[in-house]
Symmetry: C2
Subunit: 199 residues, 2 copies
Amino acid sequence: MTRSLRSDAQRNRLRILEAAEVVFAMKGPSASTEEIAQRAGVGIGTLFRHFPTKKALLQAILKELAVRIATETEELVRSGEPASAFYEFFSRMVGQATKQKTVVGLLAEAGIAVSVAKPVNALRDAVEALLAGAQRAGKVRQDVGVAEVLALLTGVCQASMHADWSEELQDRTLAVVFDGLRPNPASDGGPSLLRSRSA
Amino acid sequence: MTRSLRSDAQRNRLRILEAAEVVFAMKGPSASTEEIAQRAGVGIGTLFRHFPTKKALLQAILKELAVRIATETEELVRSGEPASAFYEFFSRMVGQATKQKTVVGLLAEAGIAVSVAKPVNALRDAVEALLAGAQRAGKVRQDVGVAEVLALLTGVCQASMHADWSEELQDRTLAVVFDGLRPNPASDGGPSLLRSRSA
DNA sequence: CTACAATCGGAGTCTCAACTCCTGTTGAGT
DNA sequence: ACTCAACAGGAGTTGAGACTCCGATTGTAG
């Protein structure tokens, strides 16, 4: 298998990971590897020794992020009220996106139909559980699925990241989305755009 | 003022504009100038003679797009039913974004508080009129403003562009947003996330 | 038809960022 | 303490894309 790294190598690997997380969060995936190396206090060569390509480094960060968020989300699922948990999660996510540009990329990957990576799937599953709970509690309409939720989440995050919204605008926008997600007591009669879920 | 260009120069300018529109629409703003020049059937030098920087070219395209969309939108405002016009416009916009990557950039600019360019402001005004009409017709709740609408529109467009959605997912997502935008007959009582509009 | 200024074209420059290579250094087993 | 494979570091290579320069062309005024 993989023999354990020399102590200094371990330390540097960690430093690089930490630096990359910060830099990618601030500047997005287009941040330069040199900046990361500098922030980590290592040479560029060292960075590429540990992560053969920039893409590999980005994926490592994304994976870590996915695990952290998935864990948080699972906790939300478990501990307590499914009613507010779902909306809480949604808000928190959007709030982070403004500063954590990485989450947007992450969500985009989660939106892809069949994700290969396990942590991303875990995140998707956690969101699904959250949604299911809120639906059982009657706080989210029955006819939406994870796909739409992820889609909405991605959209709002991306938009809020690009043009940085005021907190008020963010709240207002979320309020509209949330109202759309809530079950509508007066939904009998009018022709809905929503076809009933077939599968 | 500006003396009229030589005939061949006019022709080339047009060709470049057309080519740029197509290429930017397909590949987004990161498309290379060389590809545009090639598609237009002119040399790179010619391209940069007409548009001193890539940015200038992009802005020219964006401006044109803004004018076209603003015009269409104004027509929607004028001719007929304000009720469906608003939702029609929203849907159409999202539908285009998948293939016209340029519209996303355009909307992002429109979201900025004080836009400098006239065409962009015209677009914003047209959307505002559309919204006002739909609100007067009772088809959109009173407490949303252009800012939120533009924000929502941008978000959904960006998301649909990035991961290309199936048509069904697109419809479902739009349905949720639309339901959020509609006035809620049963909105008395429950604590709403929406603070009443102050200004 | 001629002259010539406006225009064209594309090889070449410049910049920036990912990635490589090789020399010097160091952790750790003996 | 000694050895040496593993590792660090950063100058240098490579590639891509925006932009420049100037000799070759061409529209058009006279």
